[in-house]
């Protein structure tokens, strides 16, 4: 009797101690679509089953434009999350603060992990000063949405839309009294810059160069001017496109309501578009982004380009046990099992080759030609530089692009001014 009593006491005291060994990780994310959040929750449940000693507490951080303020406050309050889902463009910034774990170190300590399965381009955007600091979570890129019914009515063959001139001519044909053929993103936020960069690359331009191993702006080139002038002329000269609402170029409202026939956007709207197709009969498709073509790029190489986006996982410094647990979750996310399901159910593109090549995903692509366009276009993916100054430069450039679109400045002046300020930012500390 006594022994039973004591063992009960031991159990009562011991059980919470055992339970305390479970590591609870906080995971901040900004996944908006409720469907995708449900997928994530399923996956977290699966992960917790596989790792009974780890719990993942997923929390939505809300609007994306608020995240930097929230994380700053969390770090200042010494309560940052363990894991965070955020744009890889912040890799350099966060690495520089010294508050996140250098993933390269974790990879080095983990011989079983095969980093080569992840696309090289995605690792590139996860680097700061040559070393890997963050982990690719999901990928996407930009393609041209088009309204199939409008194309058919205007007699346009979507397969013949290969250059900027093709795009402009198509848009002119598609424009009617209550509809525009195309939409140019207005505003100075990252979206505008992100989309604009694809045009810069298509015209054989580059965003930054490295001279003497030091980054310098390169977007103020003839290619940059061609890209910006093309946008301005589209609206002001040919009246074949409207501007999006300011800082809301990513919104699909106009496309779904058929007020525009084409726009540039990503694969993540797939669910919403399918719903619109069911409800209003929207007949949509996606095309590769065009190349500049001989009319706009004198030494036209027919270069195709899209901009790689997506999100990365940031692991915040805590203690070795928690960081290791976070790494386990990161590996789980990068695994083909997660990536295939995630891609199938959310429309994001997988980050690893094994997922891309899996029969299940290939079959999905065969059945979903819309997503296949984005997946196939990944080979033309360029990425934004992950240097700490990127955000500042992008904001400066965004403001100048906006000024040019409002015709406050010529394209050349706008780009030159943005380049001059960017040079100042990049040269800070150069001669120290």
């Amino acid at each position: 009797m006594r022994r039973v009593f004591f063992s009960m006491i031991t159990f009562l005291i011991g059980a919470p101690l055992l339970a305390a060994e479970v590591i609870e990780l906080t995971f901040w994310h900004g996944i908006e679509s409720p469907d995708s959040v449900r997928v994530l929750e399923d996956k977290i449940t699966l992960f917790e089953k596989q790792h009974p000693d780890i719990r993942i507490r997923a929390q939505n951080y809300g609007a994306a434009d608020q995240v930097s303020a929230k994380i700053m406050i969390a770090v200042a309050g010494r309560r940052p999350p363990d894991l965070m889902w955020w744009a890889p463009a912040f890799t350099g910034r966060m690495a520089k603060t010294g508050k996140i774990v250098k993933i390269g170190d974790l990879i080095a300590r983990d011989p079983d992990f095969d980093a080569t399965d992840i696309y090289q381009g995605l690792w590139d955007v996860s680097r700061y000063q040559g070393e890997i600091w963050t982990v690719p979570f999901d990928a996407n890129n930009l393609a041209l949405y088009y309204n199939k019914d409008h194309f058919a009515a205007a007699g346009i063959n979507p397969d013949e839309l290969n250059t900027w001139s093709d795009l402009l001519r198509a848009a002119e044909k598609l424009t009617t009294d209550n509809r525009y053929g195309f939409q140019i993103p207005m505003g100075n936020n990252e979206w505008t810059v992100w989309v604009w960069q694809t045009f810069l690359w298509q015209a054989d331009g580059e965003f930054l160069t490295k001279e003497n191993n030091w980054p310098a702006p390169a977007f103020d080139s003839a290619a940059g001017q061609a890209a910006l002038n093309y946008w301005m002329d589209f609206v002001h000269k040919y009246h074949a496109a409207n501007f999006s609402e300011p800082d809301a170029g990513y919104k699909t409202d106009d496309f779904v309501a058929e007020r525009i026939s084409m726009m540039i956007n990503g694969p993540w709207n797939y669910g919403a578009l399918k719903q619109a197709a069911a409800e209003t009969g929207l007949n949509y498709g996606a095309l590769f982004l065009p190349s500049a073509g001989p009319d706009y790029a004198p030494q036209d190489s027919g270069r195709r380009a899209t901009n790689i986006g997506g999100e990365n996982l940031f692991v915040f410094k805590s203690n070795p046990a928690r960081e290791q647990a976070a790494w386990e979750f990161a590996k789980f996310v990068m695994s083909p099992a997660f990536q295939v399901d995630w891609a199938l159910r959310t429309g994001y593109l997988p980050v690893c080759r094994s997922a891309q090549q899996s029969p299940q995903y290939q079959q999905f692509l065969a059945e979903n030609p819309f997503i296949k366009v984005f997946a196939d276009q990944m080979q033309y993916g360029h990425a934004r530089p992950s240097i700490p100054q990127y955000r500042k430069i992008s904001r400066l450039l965004g403001k100048q692009i906006e000024r040019a679109l409002y015709r406050k400045k010529s394209a050349a002046d706008a780009l030159n001014d943005a380049a001059a300020s960017s040079t100042r930012i990049l040269n800070k500390g150069r001669y120290r």
Partner: protein
């Protein structure tokens, strides 16, 4: 003698004791952040990593920062646009609702209701009202045979839109202050004026206006100070755009600190704002003191 001194001391202790709650709160939430802000202004800091002491460099860059001066200009446009017009509207409302008209309570409540509405919520409502294609305001303009106005999407109208919304939002509050001011004016003056045959206009200019002056000045100074601190409606309605045309002081500070990770620089800008607001507060003290001496 000795006894008196100890009593004096205990009075002092009691005073501190009574002041303590306010002092502690002020120290934690006002004094400490202000000192911290002042110090941060001398550093280059991204808000998370290490700070680098750079002396007055932030202030030097601030003086050369054309974007910053553009922001200052915008703030003054905003103040000039909201304060005089908003006060005039509030005074008219107060004068109307001071009279014993039918439904006075209802109108007072209606005009005051925007004040108790959250600024962000009100801002979002105005975004809908001012929407280019579907907004009620543009619909009305079209019904009346006017052209649609690109309220929030054009850099010529965006500031006007924010000013309109702010006047609407604050009118009720200023109205209540004016009503309070009006109620302190003794009715005997008006009775005397009426006996002397003064018109309504005359009695307004000779009685109401001068006697209401302390209230007017108070409202003006408070409004100027508050206008310098405008942020929420800008955030909700225009995010400082288009082309920065509605980026006012505090929005600029917010953008620098929390979007650009330039916390040191933003702190320096915030110090400039503090000095400006202190200047206007000092002006208020000086004016009210002078007026007290006159009366």
């Amino acid at each position: 003698m000795v006894k008196q001194k100890s009593r004096y001391l205990s009075d002092r202790t009691a005073a501190w004791f009574y002041l303590a709650p306010a002092l502690i709160l002020l120290s934690i939430f006002v004094l400490y952040p202000t000192v911290k802000l002042f110090l941060t202004g001398f550093y280059e800091w991204d808000g998370m990593g290490d700070k680098t002491y750079i002396g007055l460099t932030n202030y030097r860059f601030l003086l050369q920062d054309s974007e910053f001066w553009y922001t200052v200009k915008n703030s003054f446009i905003f103040i000039l646009g909201t304060v005089p017009t908003g006060m005039a509207l509030a005074l008219v409302l107060a004068l109307l609702l001071q009279k014993k008209i039918r439904g006075r309570g209802l109108f007072r409540t209606l005009f005051f209701s925007p004040v108790v509405t959250s600024l962000v919520a009100a801002g979002l409502i105005w975004v809908w009202l001012l929407n280019y294609d579907y907004g009620i305001i543009n619909r009305l303009l079209m019904q009346l045979g006017f052209e649609k106005i690109p309220w929030l999407v054009s850099d010529q109208y965006a500031m006007l839109s924010v000013i309109m919304m702010t006047i609407w939002k604050d009118a009720g509050y200023n109205m209540i202050l004016f009503l309070a001011g009006l109620s302190t004016i003794s009715s005997t003056y008006y009775e005397a004026a009426r006996i002397d045959g003064a018109s309504t206009w005359q009695s307004f200019w000779s009685i109401t206006w001068p006697l209401l002056m302390p209230t007017t000045i108070f409202i003006m100074v408070v409004r100027i100070i508050f206008s310098f601190r405008t942020f929420e409606q800008i955030y909700a309605m225009t995010k400082g755009g288009p082309t920065g045309s509605t980026t006012v002081f505090v929005y600029y500070i917010y953008e620098k600190a929390f979007q650009g990770f330039e916390v040191g620089y933003a702190s320096a800008a915030a110090m400039v704002l503090l000095v400006l607001v202190l200047f206007f507060t000092g002006l208020q003290f000086a004016v009210t003191r002078k007026m007290r001496r006159v009366t």
